[in-house]
Amino acid sequence: MKLAELIQTSREYLSERLPLKHLDFQHMVEKKEVPVHRLSWGYYTGGLALFFFLVQVVTGLLLLFYYQPTVSDAHASVEYITDHVTGGALIRNLHAWTSSAMILAVLVHLLMTFAMKAFARPRELTWLSGVALLGITFAFGFTGYLLPWHQIAVNATKIGMQTIEALGDFLPGSMSEWPRLIRETIQGEASVGQATLSRFYALHVIVLPFSIAAMLGLHLLGIQLHGMSPGIDEEPRKQERFFPVFLIKDLSVWGVAFMVLFVLALCLPFEALYAYPLFAPFDPKSSTPEGIKPEWYFYFVYYPLEILPFWLVMLGQAVAGAVLLVTPWIFRGTSRKSLRLLAWGAAGYLLAMTLFGEQIYHLFKGGTL
């Protein structure tokens, strides 16, 4: 293929995926319609994830006023925010609760998008940007977990780092060095310490926010240019106008989500869900406390790692990641009914590992984790 042809093909491909001719008020607002059918609720999950992200940005910026990213002061500054800053406990709790809510919303949105076949041509780029957003959201969770510098934060991060490095044993040739290099680059020193905290902080407040803003821009642009995916095979019952009907409903969902978050943040400290020694400040001289686990949204990897051989779980995760990336092409001809079954299967696995992971572990291994 000649270069001119290649450029022409690429242009055609991109103009179909990002039809900028629709970038006007008429297409994006006035004439935009949303199908109404039994899975219409799936259209609200993306907006909900966006709302949680906005709450994260606002509360995160407020926390930045007081948080100190040093191993000597990080935990004390978090305690200061919680105990002495007016409204500090509320803001911090909102940030913590919203982080979990955002990950949950992103996961549900991904499964709904899959079940509704919203990745199909010409929405491949929207899907890919969504998968990237999922990865960035998990990275936010992983980097933010370390920042309070308490026992569970540091010890769980150490385990995470060891897991990355252990991948090297299963890679061929010079690739086996890559995980170690990645671990060293992220960690910054021999063990999890000041360099790690500085890097996680930089990733959490600078690198990842810029990355998510770029991906979110592309994702939202794709959605606005193409409109909502039909979602079901048959003709929808009716169509409703995006502006103002759907937007008002979407904002109502945001209002309900805000109130739920506010009640949780005011009434239930996020730390109450951990055993107390785990959120005591990290002490490098003391022994590792019992009960170190990652956050709930990593249980789908953590419990299988405790039960099955490491290589098997990592292979499974790599395959799952690859399948996510090529979903628009490998499931091109799959019916929505089959996709819904697959989505239910994935949701079942995630729920089982998140809610009953420990019981499943005891079933296979016995003893305590």
Binding site: P244, M259, A272, Y276
Partner: protein, 203 residues
């Protein structure tokens, strides 16, 4: 009054020698009971200042105490009967409250039956003011001097009752804000439709 340097060191060394002849240790029997009863990991910071207990050189441990703190420690260690004021620098407020309530003598006896400590504690005491009595926190393995730690369900209901007014105000503000916003959006929509109708009519 300022003591001469050597005199102060004399007091310090005497106290250090005296305290070192005593059994300088946390009482793991209580920790073991809490872990067994609550099924939660608990460390020495439940009653002590330091998570590794009183022995050591870190802040809140005996090796780091100054002369004044060593005197306070000695006074606390001699509080054998209940009701005496206890202000040990190696104990946290919960640890001090236990010794003050039951006395050192009874406390040492209870090492063989740590489950019997709970009924002897003040049922109304709530040092961290989180709405959960210290006795309940002792039995459930949640920190009695940390208001952010406690049975999640109890904490939720206690805080919900305490914050009814701010919650009602926030709810009203959210509903009012959304009501106004929705009307604004509908207004924009009508204005846009009106201008389109006018354009068509003009054409």
């Amino acid at each position: 009054m300022k003591h001469p340097f050597r005199y102060r060191w004399g007091i310090f060394l005497t106290l250090l020698l005296w305290t070192s002849t005593m059994r300088l240790r946390a009482y793991p029997e209580f920790r073991e009971f809490i872990v067994k009863h609550s099924q939660k990991p608990v460390n020495c910071a439940f009653c002590h200042q330091h998570s590794d207990g009183p022995e050591g050189m870190a802040a809140g441990q005996i090796g780091a105490l100054n002369a004044d703190q060593l005197q306070r420690l000695a006074r606390a260690r001699s509080a054998f009967e209940p009701g005496q004021a206890v202000d040990s620098p190696v104990l946290n407020p919960f640890g001090n409250s236990i010794i003050q309530r039951v006395g050192k003598k009874k406390f040492l006896e209870l090492r063989l039956h740590p489950s019997e400590l709970a009924p002897l504690l003040d049922p109304a005491s709530d040092l961290d003011q989180d709405g959960i009595p210290d006795v309940k926190e002792y039995l459930e393995g949640t920190h009695p001097v940390n208001p952010n730690d406690g049975n999640p369900r109890m904490l939720f209901w206690v805080n919900l009752k305490r914050n009814l007014l701010p919650l009602a105000m926030t709810f009203s503000a959210t509903v009012a804000g959304l009501f106004g916003l929705f009307h604004l959006l509908r207004g924009f929509d009508r204005a846009a439709r009106l201008s389109i109708t006018k354009e068509i009519t003009t054409e």
